[in-house]
């Protein structure tokens, strides 16, 4: 089981701020997780429509598409940051 968090317009598209997911394998890459989520269609497909505008953090650290996700991890998806 992993926790998935959605921020900013990704949250608005998925309609979810936080959810849990049972991983199909012991570990998968961030890229594979994105495919899995986008395949749900609807707001999830819309959230990942332009993958280049989506950033990811695994356990509160920025993560690249090839990073691995395991049970117990907290995975967050969000747009490029715009604070400051």
């Amino acid at each position: 089981m992993i926790t998935i968090l959605w921020f900013a317009w990704l949250r608005e598209r998925t309609g979810s701020a936080e959810e849990t997911l049972m991983l199909p394998e012991a570990e998968i890459t961030v890229a594979a997780l994105i495919e899995l989520l986008a395949a749900r269609g609807g707001g999830y497909a819309a959230a990942f429509q332009n993958r280049r505008t989506v950033r990811c953090a695994v356990n509160q650290e920025f993560a690249e598409p090839e990073a691995l996700v395991r049970a117990g991890d907290e995975v967050a998806f969000f747009p490029p940051v715009t604070g400051g």
Binding site: F7, A8, A57, F62, A76, F78, V81, G83, G84
Partner: protein, 156 residues
């Protein structure tokens, strides 16, 4: 060593400067940057931006800022460093972010100040939403020039 604060409450830049420098005689220069909510002033003058909402990723935010201030302290001999970033809803003219960097010499203080705000804008999990006067709202898009400003510091 840095003072880091993420809060809905406004900050008092003068009080923060005083707190950073009180009783110190080793500081020669303090650099400071304050970011404020700017109304995207149209030609006519009616406000476009009614409010700005800053969303963040609470579990990650302070950690990300700590990374940035630690990097600044690694690059420059800082004698004090403060980063305060507000979250929540703010009106045009209100403060968003405060960066302070103190050093024995001015160049380190000024360079660290620029570095801190450049990296905060590109490496800390904050997202701005503009609530418009017409009732709509838009998520502010990341700007290429912010990435370019942050990248200036990569080669050092």
């Amino acid at each position: 060593m840095a003072r880091i604060l993420v809060s809905e409450a406004d900050f008092d830049a003068g009080a923060e400067i005083t707190a950073l420098t009180a009783g110190r005689t080793d500081i020669g220069g303090i650099g400071c940057f304050i970011g404020t909510v700017r109304d995207a002033v149209p030609q006519a003058g009616a406000p476009i931006v009614a409010a700005l909402t800053l969303e963040h990723y609470p579990a990650m935010t302070e950690r990300a800022i700590s990374r940035i201030t630690a990097e600044a302290e690694r690059r420059w001999s800082l004698l004090g460093c403060t980063v305060i970033h507000r979250v929540g809803r703010m009106l045009p003219g209100e403060n968003i972010v405060l960066v302070l960097a103190a050093s024995a010499h001015r160049q380190a203080a000024l360079d660290a100040t620029s570095f801190l705000i450049d990296w905060l804008k590109t490496k800390a999990p904050f997202w701005k939403r503009e609530d418009l006067a017409d009732g709509g709202s838009v998520w502010v898009e990341a700007r290429e020039e912010d990435d370019a400003a942050a990248a200036r510091w990569q080669t050092k």
